[in-house]
């Protein structure tokens, strides 16, 4: 045992030295404080509960969470080093900034809609009772949280594609999440991209029904994830790896139906400041503790947005390596 412990200690010391060289922090300073911007949502759950689970502490990290209302703000803060990491989704705003030379990359994925068989997807395109299929939405008003260029618009685009439609075929209306079911009810819109718990609300109130099978429409796309700026990508890479290790540690608790795990539900509800039943009764997102990124999603997002005038400032799609850095995740998960 002692023989085994010695090399481990030596390796630990070497790693610490390496980290010191890279981060420039003294060896005695064992914790590093990171500013992390986040959009609140259960699809990003592991990043939020990793603190309460002690995963960040175990990696020598102290996290200062900064709530973000608009993803564009997070991208701006990340590009100007006001944030170290952003827990949210990539968007056209990120793509345009990267095209201009900003160093922003997706380094890990979090929740996806690839839920187990028999479990409904936590989001989807819902139509009013008069609408029977996606095809019937041509020329009709469809509500969306945000505008074209956001990650939610990508999910809507995928759902419309299932009926052979694109953004140009419908009239998009920007609405808040909680305004969508009332708008479907009073005829303000004919369809809406809903997220749990609004999906259940629409069904319970008998005002709308799912127009597409979201799991089929979205496929293996994952938009929820972690995005780093220059600091964690380059100058403090080791800290970035530690942050991902902590997230992988928390994601393990999210495998399967994590809504039945009372401790996780309580931690998530406390963080998101919502009642526990909102979490336990809400939609199920699937998590993979390897935090694997689907690079194809970012390419597909660009392909979709470039077709809409005025969304992307460039025409030649950015290659995946400009938007994704998978090496930190591989290092983190391999070493976890």
């Amino acid at each position: 045992m002692a023989a085994l412990a010695l090399p481990i200690l030596a390796l630990g010391a070497l790693t610490a030295c390496g980290a010191e060289e890279e981060t420039g922090t003294p060896a005695s300073d064992t914790t590093r404080t990171l500013k992390v911007g986040y959009i609140s949502g259960t699809s990003l759950g592991p990043a939020f509960v990793a603190d309460a689970l002690g995963c960040y502490r175990d990696e020598g990290l102290t996290i200062e969470f900064e709530p973000i209302k608009n993803p564009a703000d997070a991208i701006a803060f990340l590009a100007t080093d006001k944030l170290d990491a952003y827990v949210g989704s990539p968007s056209a705003g990120m793509f345009n900034q990267v095209a201009k030379g900003a160093e922003l990359k997706m380094v890990a994925s979090l929740g996806s809609v690839n839920t187990p068989e028999g479990e409904a997807a936590p989001s989807g395109l819902f139509g009013a009772k008069s609408i029977k299929s996606v095809e019937e939405l041509k020329g009709k008003r469809v509500a969306l949280l945000g505008s074209v260029g956001s990650a939610t618009s990508y999910l809507l685009g995928k759902s419309l594609e299932a009926g052979g439609l694109s953004f140009g075929d419908v009239e998009l209306v920007t609405l808040g999440s909680s305004d969508m079911v009332p708008a479907l009810k009073n005829g303000g819109v004919e369809a809406a991209l809903l997220f749990a718990p609004e999906t259940q609300k629409a069904i319970d109130q008998d005002v709308a029904h799912a127009l597409v099978d979201s799991k089929k429409a979205y496929g293996s796309s994952t938009t929820a994830g972690i995005i780093f700026g220059t600091k964690l990508l380059k100058t403090e890479r080791a800290t970035g790896v530690s942050f991902l290790k902590a997230n992988a540690c928390a994601a393990k608790r999210f495998e399967g139906d994590w809504r039945k795990d009372a401790e996780i539900v309580k931690m998530l509800a406390d963080f998101m400041k919502v009642p526990e039943n909102t979490i336990s009764g809400g939609g199920l997102y699937a998590f993979d503790s390897s935090l694997a990124i689907n690079e194809g999603t970012l390419t597909e997002m660009q392909e979709m947005f470039v077709k809409v005038e005025g969304i992307l400032t460039y025409t030649d799609l950015l290659p995946a390596d400009k938007l994704v850095d998978d090496t930190l995740r591989a290092e983190a998960v391999g070493a976890a």
């Binding site: 590009a79 345009n96 505008s147 609405l175 305004d179 708008a183 400032t313």
Partner: protein, 284 residues
């Protein structure tokens, strides 16, 4: 001509005389006024030009983060792009039509109602507290209610502008009408003026300057409130252009929107000053 002595206090305290020679203002009052006006106008132009040049220099030198604070030359180029694509014209027209429709609706109702309330003391006493309370409600806060009642179309946004303008003009009109000197009314009565003649020839001219000031303030508020509304509930307009450009990571377009909004504010203000100048010759 002997020099003019003016400083009597200095004379009394020190016992000496101080003489002041006539300056350029006294020697050539017209020329002095002309030069002064030229200098003031020059300064009004030079200050913004200097600020824009400084911005260009700082952005060019890399002191400012050019991705988010692009140099004015980039913003000008983006302006040209937006004009060429037609997006700019569409945005300006969408915002202007909402501002003009809402403004005309809100101010015309407010002037008519303000004249009545201001003229009838009992009405004024009964309604003023309610009007004051409603005036302070942030109008953007009731946008979701307007959307719920009138739907997602133009009506809710036009009504929001109208409501914003209404209360400012109403309060100014009531105040202006109720402040008209009773002596004017006495003169009117002694000349046998009818109620209508009193309103048209006495109350309206006397109340007009303050009412027009209220209308000028309301025009600025109309621009502010429509931009706020377009942030959250529109798919066209300068507010939408600003918000959407920020979301899409294209700040150059955002600045075009911001500059255009302030230009509209300035132009509307100037137009209303012109209207004021035309309608109130006695107040020049």
């Amino acid at each position: 001509m002997s020099p003019v002595t003016r400083d009597q206090e200095a004379v009394e305290s020190t016992g000496t005389w101080r003489t002041i020679a006539p300056g350029p203002a006294e020697l050539d009052p017209r020329g002095y006024a002309r030069r002064r006006t030229l200098m003031e106008r020059g300064l009004a132009i030079l200050v913004p030009v200097a600020l824009i040049s400084l911005w260009q220099l700082l952005a060019g030198a890399g002191v400012l983060e050019s991705n988010y604070f692009p140099p004015p030359s980039d913003i000008a180029a983006s302006w040209a792009d937006l004009l060429a694509s037609g997006v700019y014209q569409e945005s300006v027209l969408a915002s202007l039509s909402r501002i003009v429709s809402g403004y005309l609706l809100g101010t015309s109702c407010a002037v008519a109602l303000g004249m009545v309330i201001g003229s009838v003391r009992l009405l004024r006493v009964a309604l003023e507290p309610t009007i004051s309370a409603l005036y302070t409600v942030p109008k953007l806060a009731i946008l979701p209610l307007l959307l719920l009642i009138f739907g997602l179309g133009e009506t809710s946004k036009i009504l929001l502008v109208a409501l914003t303008c209404f209360f400012v003009v109403l309060i100014n009109t009531i105040d202006a009408v109720s402040s008209v000197s009773p002596r004017y009314h006495d003169v009117g009565r002694s000349c046998g003026a009818s109620r209508w003649s009193t309103l048209v020839h006495i109350t309206l001219p006397a109340a007009l300057p303050q009412t027009l000031t209220g209308m000028r303030i309301a025009s600025g508020l109309a621009v502010i409130v429509i931009v706020g509304a377009e942030f959250v509930a529109a798919d066209a307009g300068l507010g939408f252009l600003v918000w959407n450009s920020w979301n899409l990571g294209v700040p150059e377009h955002m600045y075009v929107g911001i500059v255009s909004i302030s230009l509209i504010g300035v132009i509307v203000g100037l137009v209303l000053r012109g209207v004021e100048w035309l309608l109130t010759p006695w107040n020049r």
